[in-house]
Symmetry: C2
Subunit: 443 residues, 2 copies
């Protein structure tokens, strides 16, 4: 036997039905729903991205539907493609069934109804039965859309000359630190799960100039909120030879424009099914952190609890302001206070109390943190010392600076959080295939 | 301030020098190497994927090179593009330096020489200084090539209608089991790091029909060999509605053809620099496991130590046989004994001692394991019981089968191992950016 790599194509996709009008074709898929009528039946077949309406009636053929034909059977269905009309006058196709060949049989009926427009159970039950509930067309569309988001991020950056990296998730001490790291027993050594690819992506700007990574990161969050996960997919990039942190914001703006356009064109089915209100991006306005605080106090009469950061309500107010006054779903907030940004953030030479950093708010929710990094060795050592850190513990990290680094900066973007907010969902778990939080590690 | 997403392009890439012959352009990059001659100097500038030869001589301009211009400075170099000849008569371009603007300065000279054709130190030192040694053009080319491999895997499968997934790496007990799993303390619960996305990719064939993932997996390997890593990047796919396990082998053959073609065209620089002998794939021959054993005993007079699996020497002999007798760098070995394959592997109905599974050998090294999976609930429960497993512990996994799964199968392909073997390297660490093994978790 030899294998040639030829992919057999003996079935027809619904998208191609137009070409086969009044012809007999075979489709493959899962029997999603059977609705018996008085003298005919609808058999809805679920394919990878669509549901196809098939009609069974004795008048079409000599085939007689057996009792074995059940929901969640895998099947090949042969029939004639016929054109019909949708409610709004559009053309739609259905298949007049000539034959059904069953390829597999479930042992039981689903524990949750997945044939309705949505899965009508509470979120926790939905998550418990994820391998089943994801079969619902609306549920699975969420993660097809999510595929589009990360694909857009990757495609755009690849076109811009970025190199894709895969940095290690088992990290040694001192990579980034903090309290919310997961500890792992590694043959008697104490190691950590990566909170971010920060160390590695910075090291690699001195190698490839521009790098990105799409990979899991781990945060040992102790609180159970609607917007935190203990494992999520982080989309990170880092770019060298920047002239200012505006270069990073421009790159992100380009990424977001590209993603939205990709979703609009290649994920139109999912966008329609989920009724996603895709933002139209022409340009993104910016506001300085302190100006935003002032705005909140003066315009919105809001009393901030923390002058170094925003609380969720402040973010929402800024989101409303951006939409109403500036006509934008997005708002860059720049120049965060030095005290609230990580040790690798570059201070603004014009005012070192503030940094050359930014957050991006999307409809009132922070989806990105980014900024320019310190690239000079002595400056980074000094900054560490001033923060009470011991530079000797960061010897590996500082190799980048010691042996020469171009001016650089970057950002991180949480995939699930962006998906959630595009959907207008209330809980990030709705936009996470298999969420991990303090109470959940299954399925 | 508003951000438009426009990406400034005020420098020229070496690849575009042809268009700028005899014109003055600016390039940006890192001063890679300075070679002083009697009355001129070569200044080699390292850009993201190339090194550009620049020439400094007082006759070209009024610029006088300062002592601050040092190796590993980031710089903008302005000069005139002039054409010259390569040793073999080809055309090459260099830049006659008019000005050098320094953008950053290293604090020290590299601990390892990175300006030679290769980094001449032992592997362990090379790995200790990875943030520096990767700056060597040959070292970094390895991982640019690796990018091409995973990119080819993704692009081909995307074209074939696969959905990209990101499954969780924090797994609960019983996902796949085995002894070499890393255990993690998760808020007092005992959880595991994913050894493979097996459970998730199978669950998702009932959702998207075809899925793939490129992500880290973790194996607590206790032995320190030249071909094992404790964390590596696994390229996995799983496809539903297969008619036999040949469909999986065909898909893999298509993937490999596409990857090699992508490397040949878009990674030609790296292929040339690393002298990679890219395999030409037209078709891949197959041999059954027991026939291979017989061949090894009869033709090669080899006495197998284990009749259920191959040792590395047997794999090498089979590689030589495939190359010499069948003219192929690749060989599929099919129908492995049931006893040596995981519980989810489908037995061959014609002879249940063997399975509908395969390994792919590439030049005498196993790079893939794959096969058809059990999709019927009762068959899977029976198989588990016959192996002494308790199906109740696999309730989540078995949701797939219980509620209906199409016939399906898939495979996993180790990114670093494939890269290693393409390079003809002896140790997988040479093809791993930041390797993790029993002795190493840094940098």
């Amino acid at each position: 036997m030899v294998i040639t790599g030829e992919i057999k194509q003996d079935t027809v996709a619904y998208a191609d039905f137009e070409k086969f009008e009044n012809q007999v074709v075979t489709i493959k898929g899962t029997i999603h729903n059977i609705r018996m009528m008085s003298d005919f039946a609808f058999v809805i077949v679920r394919t990878a991205r669509e549901t196809v309406q098939c009609v069974y009636a004795e008048e079409f053929s000599d085939y007689r539907m057996s009792e074995d034909v059940k929901e969640e059977c895998a099947a090949k269905v042969t029939g004639k493609v016929v054109a019909g009309e949708t409610k709004d006058g559009g053309k739609r196709y259905e298949l007049q069934i000539h034959n059904i060949e069953l390829l597999s049989h479930p042992a039981d009926i689903p524990p949750v109804v997945i044939t309705k427009k949505q899965v009508n159970c509470d979120l926790s039950t939905n998550l418990d039965y994820r391998p089943v509930t994801l079969r619902n067309p609306k549920e699975r569309a969420v993660f097809k859309l999510q595929e589009g988001i990360q694909r857009g991020f990757r495609e755009y950056l690849t076109k811009q000359g970025f190199t894709e990296i895969h940095s290690p998730k088992i990290n040694f001490a001192g990579a980034e630190g903090g309290t919310n790291v997961f500890k792992l027993d590694y043959f008697g050594k104490k190691v950590f799960l990566a909170q971010s690819p920060q160390l590695y992506k910075q090291a690699l700007v001195a190698v490839y100039e521009r790098v990105f990574e799409i990979a899991p990161v781990f945060r040992a969050e102790h609180h159970d909120t609607s917007r935190h996960l203990n494992e999520y997919v982080s989309m990170d990039f880092e770019m060298g030879f920047i002239e200012g942190f505006e270069d990073i914001m421009n790159m992100e703006t380009g990424v977001l424009k590209y993603i939205m356009e990709l979703l609009r064109t290649e994920y139109a089915n999912e966008v329609a099914l989920l009724k996603v209100d895709l933002p139209v991006i022409t340009e993104i306005p910016c506001i300085k952190f302190m100006d935003a605080k002032e705005l909140l106090m003066k315009k919105f009469k809001y009393k901030p609890s923390d002058m170094k950061d925003f609380d969720p309500e402040e973010e929402q107010l800024l989101g409303k302001y951006a939409k109403k006054e500036l006509g934008s779903d997005f708002l860059f907030v720049t120049h965060y206070p030095s005290k609230k940004r990580p040790f690798y953030t570059m201070d603004d030479p014009a005012d070192p109390e503030y940094t050359l950093s930014f957050d991006l708010l999307f409809r009132g929710l922070e989806i990105t943190s980014g900024g320019q990094r310190v690239h000079d060795y002595n400056a980074q050592v000094e900054k560490m010392k001033s923060l009470g850190m011991n530079p000797e513990e960061f010897e590996t990290y500082l190799m980048l600076h010691k042996y020469g680094a171009p001016p650089h900066g970057g950002l991180g973007l949480g995939l699930e959080r962006l998906t959630m907010h595009l959907l207008g969902a209330k809980n990030v778990r709705e936009a996470t295939m298999f969420p991990r939080d303090i109470n959940r590690v299954t399925p």
